[in-house]
Symmetry: C2
Subunit: 208 residues, 2 copies
């Protein structure tokens, strides 16, 4: 059965992107530092069409696994807007992507197997459609922070991974774990994998 | 040579204590949830004089190691005030403790080898005294958050450990990694140890 998961890179002070994020600056000011480890992996560079081979590190194997387990993605409209202008023509998802939006729009198929579907009736509808099209694989809640928080608050997350970067962003960016309340998320840590650039922690959500 | 380190428990949203901390409520409202794993270890229960055996888990071995490596401690006055009324007569440090304060006070020896010294001339003086009395062991910056941040900002930390609890505290408590700026702390993760209740990440500070 499909599990619903998210995985995000965060700084030591909890930020997943810097201030002033916009379609031309999707990770915000200094935000790329949080995801430095990701941009050094060969798999991600290839997905995004970034020149240079990148590394085949433990981080690389992990990114490959994350994308391999996802049979469908759900994302917020802002993440889509930011990505639309920066993803290569062959968008990096290679599976159906359900975009939460208020504006209806026809599905948008891209080269390489990614099709963006625009969902106007809320997160549960997007999730049901994603599960139905995930081919028994898992559903990844891709982001951004506000969308992931909606899924957390609705109790719809089964598992998540934090990629903790060993640096501070400083005030001003977007914190993932913010505007949440005690009890919105309780979990059991399943595994921690350390690399020179980042620590990956896998969690299973515990429901009471 | 003595290393300077801190180790703190934090929630997924980065809090090390809850709101309304006071001498009668040293961890703040709900703050004890963040440190649940610690209160279940046999070593910590014995240190604090808490009835019940506790467990001899991977967490227990880690707590034992943290206290064993510290030849001296530095703490802020508020942490001392909060602890003074709750620590047992045999205070849990079993080594010299340098308390940062504005009010001079004679050293206060306790049963079991803990002596509190009150330092009125700042963090560098406290650290120099702690190093001189640590007997070549390491110096632990015990807390609270404001004191640890002072040492981070001054570039005086060599290593640190985060004990990440898999729960949210919700807004209102004290975040460790707050009021800090990009570049105040850059580190390399050395090791990550996972247990059912908490993930311990060891870092070495990288100086540029």
């Amino acid at each position: 059965m499909s599990k619903v998961f998210f995985d995000v890179g965060v700084s030591l002070d909890g930020y997943m992107s810097g201030p002033n994020a916009s379609p031309g600056n999707p990770l915000g000011d200094r935000g790329r530092m949080i995801h430095k480890w990701l941009f050094e992996t060969g798999y991600f560079r290839k997905l995004l069409g970034i020149p240079g081979d990148g590394e085949d590190s433990v981080d690389n194997q992990l990114v490959r696994k994350v994308f391999a387990r996802a049979g469908a993605h759900v994302m917020g409209r802002r993440m889509f807007d930011e990505g639309e202008v920066s993803w290569p023509e062959e968008a990096p998802f290679h599976s159906p992507v359900f975009v939460l939006t208020h504006a209806a729009r026809a599905p948008w198929p891209r080269k390489g197997g990614t099709t963006f579907y625009f969902v106007t009736d809320g997160i549960r509808s997007a999730l049901a459609q994603a599960k139905a099209s995930a081919n028994s694989k898992d559903v990844r809640i891709s982001g951004g922070a506000a969308t992931i928080r909606q899924f957390i608050k609705a109790g719809l997350i089964d598992e998540f991974t934090l990629h903790v970067a060993p640096m501070l962003l400083g005030a001003g960016g977007v914190r993932l774990m913010d505007q949440l309340e005690v009890g919105d998320l309780e979990a059991a840590p399943i595994a921690a994998i350390n690399s020179p650039l980042v620590t990956h922690i896998d969690y299973r959500v515990v429901r009471r």
